[in-house]
């Protein structure tokens, strides 16, 4: 799309609700937008062998994520009539109840934003080298598995 250096999607720790509000607010000047679609992943208090998950710690192959996301972004802008697309993923520790993933797509008409957001969530889970380690209340850990 452009020759500017691809930027990272990573945020250290949880994604604040305030950041989401600011991102939405910024788009009020883009008056060709008619629809925003947002997906938020929140860390869930799952139970593993009778022990409650209290947090997830995320690690990633950051350089590879940046390269992959640049290619994925381009393919999404080719496939969907998007005005913009913003993606943020946590690195490090995110407590139960906090937001670890924020996908935000905007378009003139709703189908493009909704379909792109939906497909991007699946793409992130399937294609990006990111790993979540669930930390239980007794500090034992279990590597998360996506399905």
């Amino acid at each position: 799309m452009s020759n500017k250096k691809p930027s990272s999607i990573f945020v250290s720790g949880p994604i604040a609700a305030q950041k989401i509000a600011e991102d939405i607010q910024k788009h009020s000047s883009k008056v060709s937008i008619g629809a925003h679609s947002i997906f938020l992943g929140q860390v869930r208090a799952d139970e593993i062998d009778n022990k409650k998950v209290t947090a997830i710690e995320y690690t990633a192959y950051e350089e590879m994520v940046v390269e992959k996301m640049a290619v994925i972004r381009e393919s999404f802008f080719a496939k969907y009539a998007l005005t913009c697309m913003h993606i943020y993923h946590s690195l490090g520790r995110v407590e139960v109840g906090e937001i670890c993933l924020f996908v935000f797509t905007s378009s003139a008409h709703r189908r493009d934003a909704i379909d792109a957001c939906n497909e991007m969530v699946e793409t992130i889970k399937k294609e990006l080298p990111i790993w979540g380690k669930e930390i239980c209340e007794d500090n034992s850990t279990v590597w998360k598995q996506n399905n």
Partner: protein, 77 residues
């Protein structure tokens, strides 16, 4: 010839380090054999391999300064 091998996620539970420098490995197969010798538990482990940030699914020749990554199944999001 030096090649850097980096580990991620549950692979590090086996290697206990996040990277090693290997010499005398001219292709991917020889790297994998070398690693399984050092870390036998890797033999039963499912992982993907990337060379210089690109996924690689067959044996390829390596050159000085390449970075090989061993990555367990992804679980982001």
């Amino acid at each position: 010839m030096d090649v850097q091998v980096i580990f991620f996620g549950s692979i590090i539970d086996i290697t206990l380090v996040d990277s090693v420098l290997l010499n005398n490995c001219t292709d991917l197969d020889s790297i994998v054999n070398d690693l399984i010798e050092r870390y036998p538990a890797l033999a039963n482990k499912k992982y993907f391999i990337a060379v210089n940030q690109k996924m690689v699914h067959e044996n390829i020749k390596l050159k000085m300064g390449d970075t090989v990554a061993l990555m367990p199944p992804f679980s982001g999001g």
